[in-house]
């Protein structure tokens, strides 16, 4: 088992490295090849040639690509100097560079945004997972019944309505009409857990609506399959209570595909739920990345991309390990 986990982790590192190369090529090699000098982007509106030359030297854009990548990689692990001759700045590890726009280290921006995104994603995940899976189980058990039909309709509505519609509607209701939560904003968990949850709740609901449908339908389909399995009949033949038959014998194997999708969804959510963050005005990774893209802030875009890739890959590794825990048949001897 240890070997299996280590093997997966090594694989993850390799993929992450490939992603970093790809991101580097995409953000620094391709623009230059197309005639968009990153230094010009950095220097701002109508720069003079001297500034551009300074920026070029500072970012090391005059060096070879391999050299540039190596500096970048070193920066991530041990930090790096940016030196334009006149001004010299130290970027501590993990260094993803400085923003072109506000000169802040990219890493500190990510670190600031991460709690927002994490609160949003994990909270929503708990919500859509509990509601989605339990309503999916109920739908499967009472297939064709009233609950099943209502759940199908609700989840269809949830997945079809865009976030900026449901989000704004919810905001309108809770904030402006009923005044349940005035001025929805992010409160750090450490500052005030109750306010943290209270302010995030509308966003959780909105985000969950989007994902719940998938989990509801997936659980339902998966449960219908396992409920028809011979081992479920065996469990009933033993005289087990129906609760145990469904909650243990049928649900456990039905969770396998759900774990897979959850891993991927969580990875993506950690990259930033752009629309939801925008709608509720949270400064999470999604908001940062959309701003960075809009302002052609290459280091920030690249940093967020790498960070999101890291989460997607790690989520996949966790899924693989969870598989082995859940299902002894895929467990290596």
């Amino acid at each position: 088992m240890t070997r299996f986990v280590v093997g997966r982790l090594v694989g993850a590192v390799v993929i992450l490295w490939l992603v970093s190369v790809l991101a580097f090529v995409l953000f620094f090699v391709v623009p230059k090849a197309l005639g968009n000098n990153p230094a010009v982007l950095f220097a701002g509106r109508s720069p003079d040639p001297a500034t551009i030359a300074g920026v070029t030297r500072k970012l090391g854009l005059d060096r070879s690509y391999v050299d540039q990548y190596w500096s970048f990689l070193r920066g991530v692990f041990v930090g790096r100097h940016f030196d334009s001759g006149s001004d010299r700045s130290w970027c501590p590890a993990p260094c993803l560079g400085f923003s072109f726009r506000n000169d802040q280290p990219v890493w500190s921006q990510i670190v600031d945004a991460l709690p927002v995104t994490a609160s949003l994603s994990l909270g929503a995940a708990v919500l859509f997972l509990t509601v989605g899976v339990s309503s999916g189980v109920l739908s499967a058990v009472r297939r064709g019944g009233l609950f099943d039909r209502i759940a199908a309709a609700v989840s269809l509505a949830g997945v079809s309505l865009p976030v900026y519609f449901t989000g704004l509607l919810l905001l309108l209701l809770v904030s402006y009409k009923w005044h349940i939560i005035d001025n929805v904003h992010y409160v750090a968990l450490t500052a005030n857990p109750a306010l943290w949850a209270w302010n995030l709740l509308p966003a959780w609901i909105v985000l969950s609506l989007l994902y719940m449908a998938n989990y509801q339908r997936l659980t339902r389909a998966s449960m219908i399959d396992t409920l028809g399995e011979d081992y479920v009949r065996t469990a009933r033949a033993k005289g087990l209570p129906e609760r145990t038959v469904i909650g243990k014998h049928a649900l456990r194997p039905a969770l396998t595909p759900i774990v897979t999708i959850l891993g991927l969804d969580l990875g993506v959510l950690f990259g930033g739920a752009i629309l939801t963050e925008r709608t509720f005005g949270f400064r999470g990774l999604g908001a940062i990345s959309i701003d960075a893209v809009n302002t052609q802030d290459l280091p920030v875009t690249m940093g967020v991309t790498l960070f999101a890739a890291f989460f997607v890959i790690m989520a996949n590794v966790l899924v693989d390990i969870a598989y082995a825990v859940v299902d002894p048949r895929v467990r290596p001897r």
Binding site: F4, G7, V10, G11, P332
Partner: protein
């Protein structure tokens, strides 16, 4: 019950003390010149299989996870037999015996690892895939499951016509093709007007008839039937067995009939080969095999089959084997049956018994020359190539020691030989 360990862990992992080559490379039969065609091949011999071996590579390794090389599964391990034109060879055995793999090797659905398959006088062992198409016309298969082997979206007319189209045997726009399909439907006992129906409109037995019609469309010489009736209801099985029987007579077909049901094999076959863990342990004409078998495994197998007659089935000589068939992934050394055999002696654990001739003394030389006994094993003088047919005696031998290259089966010219791979063969009445 003490020694019925079902899994492989407590069996000696002795793959290196077997006289059979166990490395991953093709066994040495592969290296010597393929001289089958030089031999005086009997005119009526349709199929000859010589030291046929199939090794499936072990484990599909992903990303740095791969099991040790050489740990392949020897699904079929150096088997030899031949089938005379118009005869039926029954292949019986339990799970893991390699009987289905043998069928797939013969039809070249799988590529042999070593050994040769000669079909109609031609070595087809290494035929490249583009040359396989004409071969597919001559060798057809019937599968176990009539539900999954027919495409549900095609009419049965299209299903039966497909091999004709592929082979270019009939023009696409065809009165001729339609007539041929009607003829085939009628041949297998279906209404020829049901040309345009879909598989789901037919019962299981009828679907198997469609499968048979499809197999016969190209007028094959050899039909490999792999458990053709196992998925069918009892009252339908007899219908299909009779159909196969009638078609053989009508069309002069040659069958390789693969089944686990021994009574059915007895009914349909001329010669029967019993397989165990990839090897043939006994082969004989059906009467000899069912009434005068010599191998303990054959005895155990026969004695385990219930007979639908309470009076006789409860009075039979009962042989109960311990445990299940071992995994072919890690078969026992020497005689593969020895861990389950009640007669096993030391030699059985150390030396693999050759598949040796046990025909009654008088019948050995009686078959007309060049007909039944084309096996290059008997001292009939040097073979035309001057190559000694059997490698010099004694280990290390690359083929099972002293094993005859072939066994003639079911040839109308003379009695097929009775061959047994056992150190202590003994007749026993078990039915």
């Amino acid at each position: 019950m003490t020694d019925n360990h079902p899994t492989t862990e407590d069996r000696p992992a002795a793959t290196d003390d077997r006289p059979v080559a166990t490395d991953d490379r093709p066994v040495a039969t592969d290296d010597r010149p393929v001289a089958i065609d030089d031999r005086p091949v009997a005119v009526d011999e349709l199929v000859r299989v010589d030291r046929l071996t199939k090794v499936f590579p072990a484990g599909q390794g992903t990303f740095g996870r791969r099991r040790g090389a050489g740990a392949g599964v020897r699904a079929v391990d150096g088997i030899s037999f031949s089938i005379a034109r118009g005869a039926t060879l029954g292949l019986v055995g339990e799970s893991g015996s390699g009987k289905s793999t043998t069928g797939r090797l013969l039809s070249r659905l799988l590529d042999p690892t070593a050994g040769t398959v000669t079909f109609d006088g031609r070595d087809i062992t290494r035929l490249p895939s583009r040359q396989l198409r004409p071969l597919r016309r001559d060798i057809q298969m019937i599968f176990q499951d009539p539900y999954s082997s027919l495409n549900p979206r095609h009419t049965i007319g299209a299903i039966i016509a497909a091999p004709l189209r592929v082979q270019g045997l009939a023009s696409d726009s065809g009165q001729a093709m339609r007539a041929r399909v009607r003829e085939l439907l009628e041949l297998v006992g279906l209404n020829p007007e049901h040309y345009n129906r879909y598989p789901h409109e037919f019962s299981g037995g009828q679907r198997q008839r469609v499968g048979i019609a499809r197999a016969l469309a190209t007028r094959p010489k050899l039909v490999i039937a792999d458990e053709p009736v196992s998925a069918l209801d009892v009252s339908i099985r007899a219908q299909i067995i009779n159909l196969l029987d009638d078609l053989r007579a009508e069309l002069g077909l040659t069958y390789l009939f693969i089944a686990h049901d021994l009574s059915m094999v007895r009914h349909l076959s001329d010669t029967v080969a019993v397989m165990y863990l990839g090897q043939i342990v006994e082969i004989a004409d059906r009467t000899t095999l069912f009434e005068h078998s010599l191998h303990p495994y054959t005895h155990a197998l026969l004695s385990a089959v219930p007979i639908p007659d309470p009076a006789s089935t409860r009075q039979r000589d009962r042989i109960r084997l311990h445990g299940d068939v071992p995994s072919p992934r890690n078969p026992p050394s020497a005689c593969r049956f020895h861990p389950r055999c009640w007669k096993a002696q030391d030699i059985c654990r150390t030396e693999a018994p050759p598949l040796a001739d046990r025909s009654p003394a008088g019948s050995l030389g009686s078959s007309p020359a060049g007909l039944a006994d084309t096996a290059p094993t008997e001292p009939r003088g040097p073979s035309p190539t001057g190559r000694p047919d059997t490698p010099p005696p004694g280990p290390p031998d690359t083929t099972p020691a002293g094993r005859p290259g072939t066994s003639a089966t079911g040839s109308p010219g003379g009695p097929p030989r009775h061959q047994v791979a056992c150190h202590f063969p003994e007749e026993r009445t078990v039915i």
